[in-house]
């Protein structure tokens, strides 16, 4: 199951925001591996640290108020966190592409989409003017934009939400990235348009063999896309497993609760599971399990020690002191 071929290795990433109200411990030691060609889903509710994780490893965090307190992000043998800014710029948008939630805020409203795509090609490739235009048209065709050549002259506001997201995808793919990071790329879209985008990504993945990190709060969206899933809660990865395993056999109480709390389209289920309480505020560094105040299995140790990610099989890990299968505390130090 494990692919021994990591392309991105993140270790102990910690990012804080120093705000007027105090220090927000946005992510508190996030470690994960992305393998070549792999599709990694990242789920968690708002504020769990999904975006900050990805923005941190791309060093797109506003500093100040942000501060990357510790961590490493090894990409093709080099650490993105300590890399010179000039070098980083060539990686970002080049070997690593990214797409954010709201295409209106990430596209420049006063420039045509053709200009924006060609600008990125100019930074990251040595194509001629004509070569860049050809490549831009090819990219727009690739993402299914009708009348691609004419569309080069369109401004972002002249496109619908779904079309803008396609343009964003085209831009992120402009330089044939090895890794594509997509932060809730369909959250703002209607469901029939979301289905179009998901279909497009599925298709492109087969064609391009890019590794993808896809962030979402919707457990449905990644069910049919991801190879492996990370679950985030309170600025930590609390569970990690291959997709089928995670949904069929969740080993963290939060994942279990989340799966029970969402209704399903294909069946009229019984009462939804209530996860009581609210997500943690992040003004203090967690010294106990961040899920403890809401957890139905909580016991003494949970309030004393924050559990690390504990491997329970070759590919499945959970940050929990309770062994849900055997209904007893886990033997872990």
């Amino acid at each position: 199951m494990t692919n021994p071929n990591p392309i991105l290795e993140v270790k102990d990433l910690q990012t804080q925001f120093h705000t007027q109200d105090g220090t927000v411990h946005a992510i508190n030691g996030v470690s994960f591996v992305l393998n070549k060609g792999e599709f990694l889903g990242v789920v968690g509710e708002s504020g769990s640290g999904k975006s900050v994780t990805m923005m941190s490893l791309l060093r797109l965090i506003p500093i100040p108020p942000g501060e990357i307190v510790s961590g490493q992000a090894m990409f093709e043998g080099r650490d993105l966190i300590t890399m010179e800014v000039d070098e980083l710029r060539t990686v970002r948008g080049g070997r690593i592409g990214f797409i954010f939630q709201d295409p209106l805020t990430s596209l420049n409203p006063v420039l045509t989409i053709g200009y924006q795509i060609m600008e990125s090609l100019q930074i990251h490739t040595d194509l001629s003017d004509k070569g860049r235009e050809e490549r831009a048209i090819e990219l727009l065709k690739l993402v299914g934009i009708p009348g691609a050549k004419k569309r080069l002259d369109s401004y972002p506001h002249e496109l619908s939400g779904g079309m803008r997201q396609r343009v964003m995808i085209a831009m992120s793919l402009a330089c044939s990235p090895r890794v594509l990071i997509a932060d809730e790329p369909t959250t703002a879209l209607d469901v029939t348009i979301q289905a179009q985008i998901i279909e497009l990504i599925r298709d492109l993945r087969e064609k391009l063999n890019t590794a993808v990190i896809w962030i979402t709060h919707d457990l449905g969206v990644i069910a049919g896309l991801a190879d492996r899933v990370l679950v985030m809660y309170g600025g930590l990865i609390v569970e990690e497993a291959p997709v089928a395993e995670l949904y069929a056999n969740p080993q963290h109480p939060y994942t279990e609760g989340l799966l029970g709390s969402i209704p399903r389209l294909d069946q009229k289920g019984s009462k939804l599971v209530n996860i009581k309480g609210q997500p943690p505020n992040l003004y203090e560094k967690p010294t106990s399990c961040p899920f403890a105040p809401r957890c139905p299995y909580v016991f003494d140790r949970c309030r004393e020690e924050n559990p690390p990610l504990i491997s329970i099989s070759e590919s499945h890990a959970t940050a929990c002191w309770w062994d849900m299968d055997n209904k007893r505390p886990r033997n872990a130090s």
Partner: protein, 359 residues
């Protein structure tokens, strides 16, 4: 007490169902003004002729994509917006012909819960004054009675009496939605329009609010029009479901029937687009992928509003608006060719032949 199968409770089994709200050919067109003289150059047909009943005690789900006219329908039913034409009756009374005084007397029976719990609560008012505002407006009880009622309402929505003197910003999104719900039920309404009441909430909080709405429905015999774009949640909560597209209702049927045997090509496409949190199922599901975007409601296509994207469209679909007709008892549809859609599910793996197939 809540039935084991929520949303499938009392209302669905009752044999003789009483119509509480009846909507007939309801339209709401917003004028588009332009130029120095603000001349009207067109109109947004937000709601363009919808007809349906809401039965007492049921939850009618109203689904559709953004801009399809769901909120406008809800607001016009409650007379928060004036209809362009058509009628709404409540307990048999035509609301559009009521005098302002009569409407005011009827108002307590019809309430609304809004999507955004941040924007819909006045930040400068305490929770107590927010919840008791409708009581004061309708001169119900004295100060002590109202305080008592506020405590009772806080209890009903799962908040503590100590919360009464706090301000909205001191609460989380889910708690704010509870405050909005307490306010909506303050006057003992019969009917509540819930307009995307969970859309702004975190996934783990959505279930809390939905469970609360279900419990209150049973406890207080409420009737809901539940507006949402979340088709999975609608299946969970609704007894019957209406599907809107470009200001019209495309299909309306009993919930399980709509999800298992949808007859309108749009319903089929919409349902098949919704991802299910089940990797095994997703791996074998086939999807109807619609081409293109939703047309603008300022410039809807002639004939059937869905004809620009419908994989089954024929000449007739552009020439004539399909009639809103009953295919079988209780199953309404607006499509010329509804009889020809396959009688199969699009939500499960055994979807059988579908309209257009992607891999």
């Amino acid at each position: 007490m809540p039935p084991d199968v929520p949303g499938n409770g009392a209302a669905a089994v009752k044999s003789a169902r009483e119509v509480l709200v009846s909507v007939t050919d309801l339209k709401k067109h917003f004028p588009i003004m332009q130029g120095v003289f603000r001349r009207q150059v067109g109109s947004v047909k937000a709601v363009d002729g919808v007809t349906f009943d809401i039965y007492r005690g049921e939850t009618l789900g109203l689904v559709g994509e953004s801009g399809s006219g769901k909120s406008t329908t809800g607001r016009v039913i409650l007379q928060l917006d004036k209809a362009t034409s058509g009628s709404v009756t409540f307990e048999g009374q035509d609301l559009s012909v009521l005098s302002p005084g009569d409407m005011r007397r009827l108002r307590p029976q019809m309430q609304m819960v809004f999507q955004d719990p941040h924007a819909s609560l006045n930040p400068r008012m305490t929770v107590s004054s927010i919840i008791s505002e409708p009581l004061r407006e309708h001169d119900q009880g004295n100060g002590d009675d109202r305080d008592e009622r506020v405590d009772e309402l806080l209890g009903l929505v799962g908040l503590a009496p100590k919360h009464a003197n706090r301000y909205p910003h001191e609460f989380s999104g889910g708690q704010r939605q509870r405050i909005g719900i307490a306010r909506a039920i303050a006057l003992n309404p019969d009917f509540i329009v819930c307009d995307e009441p969970i859309a702004a909430l975190d996934v783990s909080i959505q279930a809390q609010v939905v469970n609360l709405l279900e419990n209150l429905q049973d406890l207080l015999s409420l009737t809901y029009l539940f507006i949402s774009h979340d088709l999975s949640m609608i299946r969970h909560i609704a007894d019957r479901v209406a599907v809107m597209y470009l200001g019209r209702i495309m299909e309306l049927a009993e919930c399980n029937r709509l999800y298992t045997r949808p007859k309108h090509p749009y319903t089929r496409a919409l349902l098949s687009a919704v991802p299910v949190p089940d990797p095994q199922l997703e791996a074998v599901r086939r999807r109807v992928i619609l081409q293109g975007d939703i047309p603008s409601p300022a410039n809807p296509p002639p004939g059937c509003p869905f004809n620009t994207r419908c994989p089954m469209a024929q000449e007739l679909c552009v020439a004539e608006v399909p009639e809103w007709r009953q295919l079988e008892s209780g199953h309404w549809v607006a499509c010329h060719f509804a009889e020809e859609t396959p009688d199969t599910s699009v939500t499960t793996a055994s979807s059988g032949p579908i309209l257009t197939e992607s891999e």
